[in-house]
């Protein structure tokens, strides 16, 4: 079924909204009433229709607007895209993966025709129809990684594997929860996770790294991460902190429903064939509190998660200023009834 792409903004007048159907498919990340870090990875396999697992690279009604927002971010700050020179094979791996998955999941919107090394890529929502030579950088208007990630929702990092570690050696990062590719590029797995509280002490990163180093071709894996954002703003980068940081002081008991958003990252990790690197897809989904409480189970559970969140996480996720207002607002939607297991709506 063809997706109806919304016209909307993630800045200035913030016209981003989820349609009722899109709310039901929101990837609510909490499978119980409290939250703590864990190595919460599971195989990234296709799931039911009407969920974000329908395709392994999810495309939804926000696709066109998100790609327009990415183009604006890159125009203002080209360093949001970077790739170190030894990552060219991984760039082509990524282009192949994203084209194959988008074409397989959404044949009415994307078509890939391969004729040896001569490829034709048709992206109907963005009006693109390009023919190029796979492996020949000069036949595309951008680096292959930049080219395809200007046409795919989510942030993308390619990590190189060497010396028993993973290295952040390429990225397209414009929809991030307050981290900077320009700062992290070239860092290893432990270095770029340095600022995360509590998780290091309980060994989460040692176990996660061990697991990822053994990630196998054809067996991608996924996990959730989450935070909250004021206004539906995709680009909450350190570089633009002056634009979005002050938003956090604007939450009042009356505007929680429209201002406060749950921000969920569906992260999927893929071993790449030619380069042996790993593609890290960080797909961001935003939902306002007004939208979220239309699913009673999620309203009850988010209220309980926020109430019991350890103070270190409240600070690290930047919720300190508006957490109390949000809990008070959500409490009106929590009657204390038990919640069903799992993440999906009842």
């Amino acid at each position: 079924m063809a997706i109806v792409f919304r016209q909307e903004t993630f800045r200035d007048d913030f016209t981003y909204r989820n349609s009722p159907g899109n709310i039901r498919r929101f990837p609510f990340p909490f499978d119980r009433d409290e939250y703590m870090y864990s190595v919460n990875m599971e195989p990234h396999v296709r799931g039911q229709a009407g969920t974000v697992y329908e395709s392994l690279i999810d495309v939804d009604e926000h696709y066109v607007a998100e790609m327009q927002d990415r183009a604006l971010v890159l125009k203002e700050d080209p360093l949001r895209y970077q790739a170190l020179p030894h990552m060219m094979a991984a760039q082509w791996d990524t282009l192949e993966l994203l084209m194959e998955e988008q074409a397989a999941g959404y044949p009415e919107h994307f078509t890939l025709i391969r004729n040896g090394d001569r490829w034709r890529w048709i992206n109907r929502p963005l009006g693109i129809d390009d023919t190029f030579t796979f492996g020949d950088r000069s036949t595309l208007p951008y680096d292959p990684f930049e080219y395809i990630t200007r046409q795919a929702q989510g942030d993308f990092c390619i990590v190189d594997q060497r010396d028993g570690n993973l290295w952040m050696d390429a990225g397209m990062v414009t929809t991030q929860a307050d981290w900077s590719l320009d700062f992290d590029i070239g860092m290893n797995f432990m270095e770029w996770h340095g600022p995360v509280p509590l998780a290091h002490q309980i060994g989460v990163f040692d176990r996660a790294l061990k697991f990822l180093l053994k990630l196998q071709l054809g067996k991608p894996t996924r996990r959730f991460n989450w935070t909250m954002t004021i206004n539906p703003r995709l680009d909450t980068s350190p570089e633009n902190y002056h634009k979005w940081g002050p938003d956090r002081t604007t939450v009042t008991p009356d505007n929680v429903g429209e201002k406060v958003h749950l921000r969920v990252e569906l992260q999927s990790l893929w071993r790449l064939p030619r380069s042996n690197a790993i593609l890290f897809v960080i797909r961001c989904y935003l939902i306002s509190m007004n939208e979220l409480v239309t699913v009673p189970k999620w309203a009850r559970r988010l209220h309980r998660v926020l109430k019991t969140l350890p103070p270190e996480l409240v600070d690290y996720k930047g919720l300190t200023r508006y957490r109390d207002n949000t809990i008070a607002w959500l409490s009106k939607h929590d009657d204390g009834a038990p919640t069903s297991p799992g993440i999906f709506p009842d």
């Binding site: 053994k214 196998q216 071709l217 067996k219």
Partner: protein, 321 residues
């Protein structure tokens, strides 16, 4: 399945390439292309030897971008546990096998400005794929290839023809040629990476010499696949499964566990990758660690064992499986 997605293949061609070495070309059973891979990768080949299932890792030696088939080379080892004997003596062209997706534990560092490859005997196989990749990308490399004799060495003639004598140096021990490891490693430009694949003694010597020459650890790479070592049979109690398996003289714990119908995780089956790491709950005896994955402290602690290659000698072994 625990070892990754399986691919059904057929042997399209078998060639004898040297004394005791055969090359096997594997193509997909359904005629589709095989996955592209990265040089240095191996696959696990699963064989059905008259109802006895055998699984061995073999490096892919064909060009990584050639998806029409994979080539592997197999040395017939005298004290074969069954795998190389089966491939050499029973397998025929047209026969079916199952392989895993490629797994790479021996990848080239793509930042390297120059790559020195040190091969001993059958250890040449991963380098064949690496050289194809370096040559295609126009990256500087040298191969130093030590063999017993001209008859025992595989591919050396065609390698000299393809890449030139300036890039391919040969050493035959039967002719008293010795690979000059020390002088080779002593004087290399910054940004050079060295790779060794061969018998254990050669690998140990190269790693030690590199260290003595002041090479950074991150610039020296090695791959050793250790075949499971034979030994006295013993029992292993699998606590989660609630059974006891008998591990035979020529069998690994992993093989015994699989024979009992339990799907234990594995990847390289050679003690290198860490995937089959298993917690030891009780151990009344001595664990014989044969892997290169666990640290010395971990081995000494007796709390973990790599069940693809390691053994046990004692009265009681209980595993978290």
């Amino acid at each position: 399945m625990s070892g990754g997605l399986a691919i059904a293949v057929r042997v399209s061609r078998i060639d004898t390439v040297a004394a005791n070495i055969k090359r096997f070309r594997l193509v997909r059973h359904d005629g589709e292309p095989l996955p592209v891979f990265s040089a240095g990768a191996h696959v696990i080949v699963t064989m059905d030897d008259d109802g006895h299932r055998r699984r061995n890792p073999y490096s892919l030696m064909s060009a990584p971008h050639d998806t029409s088939g994979y080539d592997i080379s197999v040395l017939r080892v005298a004290e074969s546990r069954g795998g190389s004997a089966f491939l050499h003596e029973k397998l025929r062209e047209g026969d079916a096998l199952t392989i895993s997706h490629p797994v790479n534990l021996f990848h080239a560092d793509k930042r390297g400005r120059k790559h020195i490859l040190l091969a001993g005997g059958i250890g040449i196989t991963p380098f064949l794929a690496m050289m194809a990749e370096f040559d295609r990308a126009n990256v500087a490399f040298e191969l130093h290839y030590a063999m017993r004799s001209r008859e025992h060495g595989a591919y050396w003639q065609e390698l000299v023809e393809r890449y030139g004598a300036h890039r391919v140096k040969l050493y035959f021990s039967a002719e008293n040629d010795v690979l000059p490891v020390a002088s080779l490693l002593h004087n290399q430009p910054l940004g050079t990476h060295a790779y060794v694949c061969g018998p254990d003694r050669m690998t140990d010597f190269v790693l030690r010499t590199a260290r003595e020459c002041g090479w950074p650890k991150s610039n020296v790479h090695s791959e050793r696949f250790l075949a499971p070592i034979s030994g006295k049979a013993f029992d292993a109690e699998l606590l989660r499964s609630g059974i006891v398996v008998r591990v035979g003289d020529h069998e690994s714990i992993l093989e015994a566990v699989e024979a009992a119908g339990i799907d234990a995780p594995y990847m390289c089956r050679g003690g290198a990758c860490g995937q089959c790491e298993t917690a030891v709950v009780a151990c009344n005896g001595v664990l014989a660690h044969h892997d290169v994955y666990l640290s010395e402290e971990e081995k000494a602690s007796g709390r973990k064992v790599m069940i693809c290659v390691s053994r046990f000698d004692g009265t009681k072994l209980s595993l978290d499986l």
